[in-house]
């Protein structure tokens, strides 16, 4: 008799676990929504005005010589 009661309890526990398990998993879901702000691109590059001047003419010629890429 004691053995049967114990077996029933074990079944109840198992049933509870089967139901509660997915419920816990669902509760743990993280909702990710797309940001409504524009994505800020990282322009945090280190460049001085002097370097900009120095590279500018080469940049111009690269653009002119490769019209299909730009």
């Amino acid at each position: 008799m004691i053995a049967i009661v114990n077996r029933n309890r074990w079944r109840e526990t198992l049933a509870a676990a089967v139901i509660a398990g997915p419920a816990l998993l669902l509760g743990g879901c993280i909702n990710i929504s797309a940001p409504d702000k524009p994505i800020v691109i990282d322009l945090n590059i280190s460049i001085t005005q002097e370097v900009v001047y120095r590279l500018d003419s080469k940049a111009q010629s690269v653009i002119q010589q490769n019209p299909g890429v730009f």
Binding site: L43, I45, V51, L55, D56, A59, P67, G68, V69
Partner: protein, 134 residues
Amino acid sequence: MKFVTKIAIAALIAAGTATAAGAMMLPQDRDPAYAAARAAGQVGEQPDGYLGIVGEPTPQLRALVSNINIRRKTLYTQSATDEGSTVEQFAFVTGCRLILATEPGEKYQTPDGRWMTRDSSPPVRDARCLSNGQ
């Protein structure tokens, strides 16, 4: 013997001229799909010197943009090595020019990440860009 030498020299000159002519004709215009995507405002110029997708990305647009950007990065890397700068620096300076060179109706990205349609007014660019470029 002399005649043979002359022919050989003539052949060499001809070959050299042909190569030079080939090199002169090498720069190809934009791929029609790329030109169409630009005109439709589906792609635009970013301040970092690369092309970006403006709206919803499609596999076709992704492929187009990455193809262009891979080729750009190759050029930036070569040029940066020649100029003794970083690739990012060279790409940035080129990007300044590319945004300035956009035509009315084409898209470009501002330094704070907004996509703008170029109109007749000067584009919004990074403060480090040269104002008298192009």
